[in-house]
Point group: C2
Chain length 97, copies 2
């Protein structure tokens, strides 16, 4: 999985205004991060909860459907949460001008 | 509020690929919709739950911060959820090509 993770880090680093990338495993444990550790743990927990809730709701509405990405825009930054098979990715971006 | 609601409907109708717009009050009751009623109620409940959870989490991380929009991308469509002061807006879009 390590090569895959490196590839993902590289890919998302090229997104505009990226200030942090976190890879979180299916137990909600951050396995790779470019951010400070306390913040990483907070973001991982937030993303894990919201992703679980969002996925469940999308499937409740239509069992053939699937959540493929979640994006939160806040006053201070944007969070993109992308589920993969055995982990998920959190990308923190500064807001676009 | 009615003129404001009409203005919002008009504004979001101009977004690309919009297939539905729902305005939901702070009691999670849809007050205006362009979609079929059962689907409207489902979307309103989903959006209300996710918005509440997302807002709480963002403020837990940083009490000076605020969730300004939530976007779900699924296999079949995209959902944009935008909180306003006394209501929130749900916009359903077909996925971009």
């Amino acid at each position: 999985m390590s090569a895959e993770i490196e590839e993902i880090l590289k890919r998302y680093s090229n997104y505009p205004n990226v200030s942090g990338i976190i890879i979180v495993d299916s137990f909600a444990i951050p396995i790779k991060t470019t951010m400070e550790y306390t913040l990483t743990v907070h973001y991982a927990a937030l993303a894990n909860n919201l992703l679980a809730k969002g996925s469940k709701m999308v499937q409740n509405l239509d069992s053939s459907n699937e959540l493929t990405a979640l994006r939160l825009r806040t006053l201070n930054h944007e969070l993109m949460i992308v589920p993969e098979e055995n982990f998920f990715i959190v990308v923190v971006q500064k807001p676009f001008e």
